[in-house]
Symmetry: C2
Subunit: 446 residues, 2 copies
Amino acid sequence: MRFVVIGGDAAGMSAASRAKRHQPDMDVVVLEKTGDVSYSACGMPYAIGDPQREMDGLIVRTADVFRKKQGIDLLTNHTVQSIDPENLNIKGTTLSGESFAFDYDKLLIATGASAIIPDLPGTGFPGVMVLKSLEEGRRIKTHISEKNVKKAVIIGMGYIALEMCEALRSLGIAVDMVKPRPTFLPWMHPDLSAVVREEVEKNEVGVKTGQAFRRVEERKNGLAVVCEDEEYPADMVLVAIGVAPNSMLAGTAGIELSVGNAIAVDKKLRTSADDIFAAGDCADAFDVVTGQKTWVPLALRANRAGWAVADNVCGKNKALPGIAGTAVFKVFNLEVARTGLNPKSAAEAGFDPVEVMIQSRSRAHGHPGSAPISVQMVGDQKSGRLLGVQMVGKDGVAHRINAPAVALHAGLTVDEFSQSDLAYAPPFGPTWDPMLTAANQLLKRL
Amino acid sequence: MRFVVIGGDAAGMSAASRAKRHQPDMDVVVLEKTGDVSYSACGMPYAIGDPQREMDGLIVRTADVFRKKQGIDLLTNHTVQSIDPENLNIKGTTLSGESFAFDYDKLLIATGASAIIPDLPGTGFPGVMVLKSLEEGRRIKTHISEKNVKKAVIIGMGYIALEMCEALRSLGIAVDMVKPRPTFLPWMHPDLSAVVREEVEKNEVGVKTGQAFRRVEERKNGLAVVCEDEEYPADMVLVAIGVAPNSMLAGTAGIELSVGNAIAVDKKLRTSADDIFAAGDCADAFDVVTGQKTWVPLALRANRAGWAVADNVCGKNKALPGIAGTAVFKVFNLEVARTGLNPKSAAEAGFDPVEVMIQSRSRAHGHPGSAPISVQMVGDQKSGRLLGVQMVGKDGVAHRINAPAVALHAGLTVDEFSQSDLAYAPPFGPTWDPMLTAANQLLKRL
């Protein structure tokens, strides 16, 4: 049996490795269009921001290890250009222009996602960068040192934009962030978003919301991001307005697409075409809270889905329940975390959301290092179910989000969650963990 | 209606305050035998170990606040000596020797627990201390400074003993810990216990297991803890071999006792006597994993049970599902956490336990500050249920235990827990959180 994998990043290599572990005699072929496989994409902002670190330090396993130790037929610089689901065949071209073709018994599309570049003048200038692939990360790091970047403009204010503004500031680079919409982090409760904005501005990043971006212009000594009312000079422009799934290959082959143009998969990661699976940032998922389709391009899901595909290719019948949309990021000294729905997405999904905002502390009353934690918790008026949590603070936020994340998977009510026996010791929290305080307060409104 | 509460610590004051909030016209009487109410008992080792902190800084709310702002009839230095469940009456004596008596409609016994002092010669010397009440904490702190303590011996090696060895070492005091049993932390997996022992010994604490303790002797310039084979000189001896519930008052009144002599309560915190509740360290609880009775004297349970009693006194019909036995402590630079059962307690409860031990890291591969985390996870061969987790590490352990704790409350299988969408970002963990890696490994054995 031949298992062909298109894309050699998190989902693709997880699937290929696991399939080989399950069935060492399986013919596993991975076709990767870049020269890189298996690197920590999420680590790129940190490697860019630290002069002591090299981008290639993010490579977890080299192509050679996959080939020689695991026996995977891993072909880099191989771009797949068409899938023929009728004849179980794929075709493509290598970087050097040679054609190739493979028949498959099972196929995994793990083509990932790409950074969105707005279709506006000047976004093709060499100093305008995006950050999604390792190659793009290398380009940014090289550009910063070779061009001696002193001033950067980031277009967008999402996770990557925020992580990169910290990375650039840590290198002493002046940073402005611009976005057209008036709200800084629209998915967050305004009280929480204000805490993040304050932290970013305290670190001397210009936060320019409501700046409709028109074009990038070349100037004598650099670039300028020209917005409707103002322009921002820069030695480097980072476009970080979001990512889109690389689903055109699948779409062209007639495979069904879904939310955000991601490839539609069922719980066993099967696409609408026989013997073709999709996993990772190119594929959709089920939301465990709403049961509806969602698209959340995050690393854990990609790895997990890759494994599940390998299990199913090997006849193990593995179904994934779905995702809670749990995410965390660090921006300067702040930890920001979320899981599940916010009131808006909850209402859209048909719930009757009720929310509380509470302030608690990361450690016991009077314990050194204790810092404020702000929590929004959302529940459903009708069923009493816990729907989501958002949280911001300088200490003890990141792992705290996992308790409500598990509660979402288990479908607990706010009342049930509020009875959880969470850990307490003065160096780590108040007697009532902030998660429990939020649940207790939310209960009063349900 | 009169609601009488015996004991003015976590459970008692939580109940009294909440009852008053529910029904401001209720006659709420609290009888506390010491002069202190509502302080953070768990904070005592940290206040003792920090010369900048005062013990009274641990008082969360003073008796006056409870009296004047909340209208609670709070009587300190009032020791209750008998309960008459037939006639709904209690009797006692004040510190100054006056008798008092109260009729009640509802009674809460929240008498807490006391440190166990072995019945051996010399434990009555002034330099021999225990740490359970704030008054005992003050005595220790005063003794250390007034007697200029340079050398201490701790009898026992539990949570309090370990927290206190750190506190004493931070004051520059030489510390030996002794215990008669040969195993350092018998409830832990030996690999984890070894990590804790190494950390303690690295901080120059003598860990003397297998030392059968015989007596304390007075010497010219201090005390000596005399064990079977050896003796340990000391300016101060801390006895920290455990606590026992203060249940004699209830037992004498004919109220049913249970595991460890704790007062038996149902899920609504009702004792075997009509209109008498018990909560806090004096009362038992249900284990959410086994469904059986257990006794876990921890602060969160005490507060929660106090609230539930107030709800039930006010006719709200509140039942507590039980506890997972989640606990965390810090010892020097190490965080130690647990929830649920270990293989031994799981087997005793009728499960067929299977365990794994894994090593993971607190942050992403190569991220600064990443430290090893060792995890033991236990599941049930028959049902696939998650049964318990233990974890040790220098970074990111404390809050990580709460995800499996919630899973225990929800009765998740290891497979279900392994599908949880936990947060990932390089500063906070590897893509697969150590909890998920442990679950994935355990699944292979189930």
